[in-house]
């Protein structure tokens, strides 16, 4: 047995390396696996790399030659403006219903204040995850199949989309609250509803308002294409002009969508900043 002296214990390592054994090995193995998967994907999907690089010049060329003079007369048509207003209506209604439905679901899905860990918690989580996992266009197609074409299907699809989107943010917000008031309310024998109303809601009201506005912003973005699959609103015009290859009209509609989404983003950002300042 060697004598353990201060020198042998505190002896610094002779050579310093950024690459230490277990972490670096695992990291390189993961990187290698990802690279191998990428290579396999490129081979499997038969992707011609020269076409990838050529895609952007080609897109620019197509935009310049076929789409270029946007047919602005088409988008100032009264019917089109009516469809824009309907898109706005759908996003408002879908966002409102989604937020209203997602607050109780988020309550169930927040681990710290849920009313029952066995049944309510998995139910809330699954409802939110399920709404989130399926893309809004698939929801639109499903609702159109069941309920027929029109704004009802689009509104419901947006509602489900908003439940998934806002529900997750709400649940995250609820899980980060201060548990002191909750425990105080519980210890004096308040019911779960009373706990939610007096201990939880005052803490998250401002954050929830901000999230609700952000949800509307995202819902509006989704609402512009809901009509593409029969959900009503301006997306239907997009589908019709795309399929009839009226590229200049498509260009005009795209410009309108970009402008509206920009406006919605600026508006919602301004509102959210105002509400955050009220805190």
């Amino acid at each position: 047995m060697t004598v353990v002296t201060a020198e042998t214990v505190a002896a610094p390592r002779k050579s310093w390396s950024r690459y230490r054994h277990p972490e670096a090995t695992i990291r390189f193995a993961v990187m290698l696996a990802v690279l191998a998967f990428l290579g396999w994907s490129i081979a499997f999907l038969n992707i011609d790399l020269s076409r990838v690089l050529g895609a952007f010049p080609r897109l620019a060329e197509i935009l310049a030659t076929r789409y270029f003079p946007p047919d602005l007369g088409y988008v100032t048509d009264a019917d089109f403006i009516r469809s824009v207003i309907r898109t706005l209506e759908m996003s408002l209604l879908g966002g409102f219903l989604g937020v209203v439905c997602s607050i109780p679901l988020a309550w169930l899905a927040a681990r710290n204040i849920t009313i029952g860990r066995r049944i309510a918690y998995p139910f809330g989580r699954f409802a939110i995850m399920g709404s989130r996992s399926i893309h809004e266009t698939i929801w639109t197609i499903l609702f159109v199949t069941v309920l027929g074409f029109g704004m009802l299907a689009g509104t419901l699809a947006l509602t489900v989309f908003c439940i998934g989107f806002a529900g997750k943010l709400f649940a995250d917000e609820l899980e980060a609250i201060d548990m002191g008031p909750v425990e105080a309310m519980r210890s004096v024998g308040a019911s779960p509803l009373q706990v939610f109303q007096y201990a939880v809601l005052p803490q998250v009201r401002v954050a929830f308002t901000g999230i609700a506005i952000y949800t509307w912003d995202v819902a509006f973005r989704a609402a512009t294409v809901v009509g593409f699959f029969g959900g009503g609103g301006m997306g239907w015009y997009l589908k019709r002009t795309t399929q009839q290859l009226e590229s200049q009209r498509v260009a005009a509609i795209l410009l309108v969508i970009i402008a509206l989404v920009l406006l919605a983003e600026i508006g919602s950002g301004w509102l959210r900043r105002k509400i955050a300042a009220m805190r």
Partner: protein, 273 residues
């Protein structure tokens, strides 16, 4: 009475009550206005636009829903390749999005941008543009440009990812600790060394988290690319829908859920200590 009122009440209880009352009236007005707008939306959307008779009542809706419930399990072997395609589309799209968002983040980060008056607004505009166009529209544009197949889906997913990845990256670059950068400059490091040893190690954890988050979202995005002509699960969904094989449609939706679950599990791995 107003003459005799003490000056104190200007900041006292009465003023507070009046202020509160004013705010409460304001709040009620806001709520009433919001309810009016929502009511009008509801009336116009649900009452006017919907053809209730054609829906066939509860029986008709129930009948359609029932057809969705008979899941067509015979389709399972035909779903494996499309599911793999979807996963690959999402992965390659995310990678391409990362590569494309590097210059955008560089332009759009206020402290490292090459020119505050030209490149900074360009970078910011590209971020907004990428996010404001829906992935379906990007896919339509790219199907027109490069034809059918997985490639337009990859490009569409990549374009849609640029906005989020580059925005978070730019914010991370703006919030770095300038001391390591100055230290490397002080000992004579060149521009590349400053970037590689001073900036990248600071923003790498944020970027990796963002990329994995975006990859998770891109799985659901690439699952619908087939609807407009790019391959994957969306194409199967479209075909089953066109054949009115609603049991198959349900199965495709379940397959998407399985893919998302796989994505969740994989994206949780790096977070493990």
């Amino acid at each position: 009475m107003s003459v005799a009122a003490p000056a104190v009440s200007e900041h006292g209880f009465d003023a507070w009550v009046a202020h509160k009352r004013g705010r409460r009236i304001n709040n009620w007005l806001l709520v009433a206005a919001a309810l009016a707008v929502l009511g009008w939306c509801f009336w116009d959307t649900i009452m006017v636009d919907t053809d209730w008779a054609r829906m066939g009542g509860a029986l008709g809706i129930g009948g359609t829903l029932e057809r969705f419930l008979w899941i067509d399990w015979s389709l399972v072997p035909h779903l494996i390749v499309p599911a793999l395609e979807t996963l690959m589309m999402a992965t390659l799209g995310t990678l391409l999005g990362c590569v494309l968002s590097l210059p955008v983040a560089w332009f759009g980060a206020a402290n490292v941008t090459p020119s505050k008056y030209f490149f900074y607004p360009v970078g910011r505009f590209l971020m907004v543009l990428s996010r404001s166009i829906h992935e379906i529209i990007w896919a339509l544009l790219f199907v027109g440009a490069v034809g059918l197949g997985a490639l337009p889906g990859i490009l569409a997913v990549a374009m849609r990812s640029i906005g989020f990845i580059s925005k978070i990256t730019a914010e991370a670059i703006e919030n770095i600790d300038p001391k390591p950068v100055e230290a490397i400059r002080a000992v004579g490091g060149n521009q590349f060394q400053v970037m590689y040893y001073g900036i990248v190690p600071q923003i790498l954890p944020v970027i990796i988290g963002t990329i994995i988050f975006e990859w998770d979202i891109n799985i659901r995005r690439s699952a619908i690319m087939g609807l407009v002509g790019a391959g994957g699960l969306g194409l199967v969904f479209f075909r089953q829908m066109a054949m009115f094989n609603y049991g198959g449609v349900t199965l495709v939706v379940l397959a998407v859920l399985v893919l998302i679950a796989i994505g969740e599990v994989v994206s949780l791995l790096p977070a493990r200590p």
